[in-house]
Symmetry: C2
DNA sequence: TTGTAAGCGTTATCAA
DNA sequence: TTGATAACGCTTACAA
């Protein structure tokens, strides 16, 4: 049989309310009874039933994480585990649990999210990037349910989000290549329907402009955040009359594809071609030479997102916030002539 | 204000128990009232409160996933996201939610697990491999709480687990190299305190024996499941008077380290050196040439583990089970002369 | 087929 | 500083 607060109360010779107070470390309790009750709990092996607690407290101390829908997003890109780590770190600190939600398609996902949101199984949810245009955002927003998006949403930029300054980050990356003497910088972008692609392209343009280098749209190619399309994108760049002397890819995975293509063609890195990626995942070390990458501080993104979310949960009237996580450029062999 | 079962009952002009029956699709309910109640729910925007349900049903339809403790395990090795995918797939099917648990150290983790287990926040837990010698296993086992380990535990091999036949898998990998004509096969192992390392070594030995090739312990070196130690391990093999003509690494990450070292030394793959890895992660495609790897079906491991766990939860007297997930060898360029 | 009412294990209010 | 007791929102005998 299960040991409940009642058993503890009986054993300690007090009322259940007293046990409850001990449980929540209420100050209105004498040291003596506190000890007495603690001892009874110990002896009986008591653990509070969280469902009961949640029911009456109308909160769960749980954050929902809406997972990327596609296997690729989840699996191929090492972004995901790292952002989870950051989220987990804060959750741990604040004593929150983490619930993972997913669905194979939009309908299934919607159902799953509604279940935990309206079912009050969590107090707020985190939306991992890649879904910055998700209808879910609007639904949650209209509902007034606490949530935070990792990655600035295109449709409702006024909701809570954490993101990098991608314009700035891309500017720095581009400037780095220019400083190294590269002049024809190819740009392997993701779909322009993603804010992140647009922003990074903008930073790239800005850096060129600052150095009075004309923007050449032939140098912009598009991939899909996977290795294969990075590979293809670079091959396309090579068909240009004047191929690039360097490449920025908006994701390490695509940068890896570029590196692979370059290797197959016996291009020397960085002499014949410099490569810069984004995200500073461990993938940068998975090729030779290692790849320079913009460190977007994935862990911090997760950590800050969780922090913001918990803050919103605990202060319902707090105003909405946008958190910018600073980036850095990690220079490695692939772009470093000197 | 929150809409509850009472509001629905009132609106539909029935008792709360009737609403509850509709909710659980009880057959003892007339079609007419069913419709009536459903309509009321619809109109009021009713969603069942899961805490209340869990409280009375004494179950949560939630599985706990005990995450790897170290960031490396979680992050560096792509095993993790893939096994989660498998778990998630089944959870989805069976309508279970997933709770992630972690702790930075053993004490913290223990507390977190106890909280959700004794707090009845989940009905069972999954232990991800890498912890096949965890004291947690014994604790949960003694407690009689449903759990499944991914990876056969060293200490209590009689608990529920799912794993591959690693002896067999390694046998096949070794035989493949022998069939290709390689004779001096280096073996980059993980720590021999792990069952998986022992098993894979055994399969290697067995294959050699079957071909009457003497086992040479100098060809066995040890790494730590990361790229750097794979790299170092291979360098060590090269100091042998007669270096290997091929290498099996018990993990793709280490195989990648070997590949890197070989590349730096201008060894041609597979002519000068063949490489075979384990796990068939996408990393095998991240180097040129792509690496042959034993596909241990990570997704299936997760899927089967969740299946076994849910079965144990729903049939408490079911006997313990060990599930073997079949492996395959994915031959790629790194080991394929022909 | 439906309704009544007693829990499930907590917290919170109000008295004492 | 403590104790009764009424919620919290649901399920489930038992009765009707």
């Amino acid at each position: 049989m299960n040991v409940t607060i009642k058993d503890v109360a009986k054993k300690a010779g007090v009322a259940t309310s007293t046990v409850s107070r001990v449980l929540s470390n209420s100050p209105r309790i004498s040291k003596a009874t506190h000890e007495k009750v603690r001892k009874a709990m110990e002896e009986l092996g008591y653990y509070p039933n969280l469902s009961a607690k949640n029911l009456v407290k109308r909160s769960t101390e749980t954050l929902g994480i809406i997972m990327p829908r596609s296997a690729e997003d989840l699996f191929v890109n090492p972004f995901f585990p790292e952002v989870i780590r950051g989220i987990q770190a804060l959750a741990q600190e604040k004593n929150y649990d983490l619930l993972m939600v997913s669905g194979r398609d939009e309908a299934e996902e919607k159902k799953a999210v509604e279940k935990i949101v309206y079912g009050k199984r969590c107090d707020g949810v985190l939306l991992l990037c890649s879904r910055t245009t998700d209808p879910l955002i609007e639904q949650l927003d209209d509902e007034g349910f606490p949530f935070v998006v990792i990655g600035k949403p295109a449709t409702r930029p006024d909701v809570n989000w954490v993101d990098n300054d991608n314009v700035q980050a891309s500017y720095v990356a581009t400037k780095h290549l220019l400083d190294q003497g590269y002049r024809r910088i190819g740009f392997v972008s993701g779909s322009l329907s993603l804010v992140v692609s647009l922003d990074r392209l903008e930073g790239y343009k800005k850096a060129l402009k600052d150095q009075n280098i004309a923007f050449n749209k032939d140098l912009i190619v598009y991939g899909d955040f996977d290795r294969e399309t990075g590979y293809q994108a670079f091959k396309k760049l090579l068909t240009l009359e004047e191929p690039p002397d360097s490449v920025i890819a908006v994701d390490d995975v695509m940068a890896l594809g570029v590196s692979r293509a370059a290797q197959e063609l016996n291009l020397r890195l960085p002499e014949d071609l410099a490569i810069v990626g984004f995200n500073n995942t461990m993938l940068t070390e998975y090729t030779y030479p290692p790849i320079t990458s913009v460190d977007i501080k994935i862990y911090d993104l997760g950590y800050q997102a969780a922090k913001l979310l918990i803050n919103q949960i605990e202060n319902p009237d707090a105003e909405r916030k946008h958190v910018i996580v600073p980036t850095g450029l990690i220079v490695r062999k692939s772009s470093c002539l000197k």
